[in-house]
């Protein structure tokens, strides 16, 4: 059988990995620093994800939020939302997680060299983008301007407060944020994330925009970026779908003819436009 000639792989066996550190970011989000057995390096690209599992509680795709330049461990930011993630939130330093991956197509950083980088992050969308943000900061000289736009529903949902403080105080990073609804202590912008785009002065042809957030955010952000005349091919989006395997078999993540776990989660915008079911 010619089909049998290929060497097959055990695709579903996780590597039992250790939690090095757990940070509480908000009421519903925690950050986990994880190390693979024998200090193996994950070797991911920014924007890729891993399949995380706890036996008895299931498996789910989670974006890697640390930069590939940070080794040997890597970081995940997880929202408590169901079977697996609830249980993850009960784990502490020393706990074990099954890891498969990295999977998917991340950001190809080659074409971004010397470009101005615009990051548009909604809610937990900051987590997957943070791997790229951290990477560009680590390799700051390879890039032009770094502009980070970040919006959350309300101030209590803000992630990575320490990093944000650093970003805010650094001259070579332009950071703007907003909340949909403010509270008493909030002194910053109020309004949806799209309100942060019009004031920006952009060198449109030299700007790469990367957008990650909840499904409804995409439509409006794309309109705003359009009016800024950023060429479609300079815009990248990361999509989220249900996934049961991460290796292009189970079919759950399929959008038209694209498997998010293979071709995505990061897509150049022209490709998204071909995928009618995408957003």
């Amino acid at each position: 059988m010619e089909a049998m000639a290929v060497e097959s792989k055990k695709l579903y066996n996780p590597l039992m990995s250790k939690i090095l550190k757990v940070d509480i970011l908000t009421e519903t989000e925690k950050r986990f620093e994880i190390i693979l057995p024998e200090d193996q390096i994950l070797g991911h690209k920014p924007g890729q994800f891993v399949e995380v599992s706890i036996f008895g509680y299931g498996e789910a795709p989670i974006s890697i939020c640390s930069s590939p330049t940070k080794t040997p461990g890597f970081e995940l930011t997880v929202r408590k939302t169901g079977r697996l993630t609830d249980k993850m939130h009960l784990l502490e330093k020393g706990g074990q997680l099954g890891i498969r991956g990295p999977f998917g197509n991340g950001f190809d950083v080659e074409p971004f060299q010397k470009k101005d980088m615009l990051f548009v992050c909604g809610g937990i969308g900051l987590a997957p983008l943070k791997s790229l943000i951290d990477y560009t900061i680590a390799k700051r000289d390879d890039f032009g301007r770094l502009m980070i736009l970040y919006g959350t529903k309300n101030p209590s949902e803000i992630l990575f407060k320490e990093d944000i403080e650093v970003w805010q105080n650094q001259d070579d990073i332009e950071f703007h944020m907003t909340v949909d609804r403010s509270d008493e202590d909030w002194k910053g912008n109020v309004g949806v994330i799209t309100t942060l785009i019009p004031p920006l002065k952009l060198d449109t042809s030299n700007t790469i925009a990367t957008v990650v957030g909840p499904p409804i955010m995409y439509k409006f952000v794309m309109l705003a970026l359009k009016s800024k005349r950023i060429p479609d091919e300079n815009i990248y989006l990361s999509l989220e779908r249900r996934m049961k395997c991460g290796v292009g078999k189970c079919g759950h993540c399929q959008i038209n003819n694209s498997y998010v776990c293979q071709e995505g989660p990061v897509y150049p915008y022209p490709r998204i436009k071909q995928l009618e079911e995408a957003i």
Binding site: G56, Y57, G82, R83, D86, K87
Partner: protein
């Protein structure tokens, strides 16, 4: 870790679901290892005040039932509805289909006396229900799944697809091929398609899947020799409260 304190309560029902639990002969001892059963009227005398998990069987059909279920809810951390009667009103809810005048006529004997009765309702119509084990009688594998999930402290998997899925996974001969009709295509799975596996049509005891195509379902039943009227009647046997 102390064992979860578990209680079982029965409302208007045939008590088949309760009995089904006593039928876990092989697993009963394992189950008792995992939890403390603190109240189970059908099998024991003890009573308790507070419960980690309360399992409720039966539908709500009298004002007393309403008071009792509120009281149990107040004292329970997790409340699980067991069986069609508790989940949807079940067979009992068929009563709601008939005009009250007609029911009076049929049910009144010459000796009338007052026994207050209200339209049959599922438990969730009165209090918050955390999880549901469907079926008439409740499905044993599903019950065990929810039971184990709760002991593990995780959310159970909630099935929202048709009985046909399990029926096809088992490679049953479809009862439609024997000239019968079947409610399996629109009924929520979880029973392991036990009726079609035994050559009988699915009566829909587990209620409808969500987003059901109701008109499509009636057209489908008509293809299999039921009139519109009969199709509606069959679909309402267990879903009197779900379909208008």
């Amino acid at each position: 870790m102390s064992k979860p304190r578990v209680a079982f309560f029965d409302f208007t029902s045939c008590e088949g679901c309760q009995l089904n639990k006593l039928n876990f002969e092989n697993d009963l001892l394992d189950i008792l290892e995992l939890v403390d059963i603190v109240e189970f009227r059908e099998a024991m005398d003890d009573r308790a005040d507070e419960y980690d998990i309360a399992f409720i069987e039966g539908s709500i059909s009298t004002p007393t039932c309403v008071e009792r279920i509120h009281d149990i809810r107040r004292r329970s951390k997790i409340l699980v509805a067991l069986g069609s009667c508790a989940v949807s009103g079940g067979i009992n809810a068929m009563k709601n289909l008939y005009p009250p005048e007609w029911v009076k006529e049929t049910v009144y004997g010459e000796d009338k006396y007052l026994f207050p009765s209200i339209p049959v309702q599922p438990v969730s119509a009165i209090v918050k229900v955390d999880y549901e084990v469907r079926g008439c009688p409740m499905s044993t594998p599903e019950y065990l799944h929810i039971f184990k999930s709760l002991v593990l402290g995780r959310k159970p998997e909630i099935i929202d697809y048709a009985v046909c899925v399990e029926c096809k996974q088992k490679e049953n001969e479809c009862v439609l091929d024997k000239g019968m009709f079947c409610l399996g295509p629109v009924t929520r799975a979880g029973c392991g398609a036990i009726c079609p596996s035994n050559g009988q049509y699915c009566t829909g005891c587990r209620g409808l899947v969500s987003n059901v195509n109701e008109n499509g379902a009636i057209e489908m039943l008509k293809l299999h020799n039921l009139s519109t009227h009969e199709a509606m009647k069959r679909m309402k046997m267990y879903c009197a409260n779900e379909i208008d």
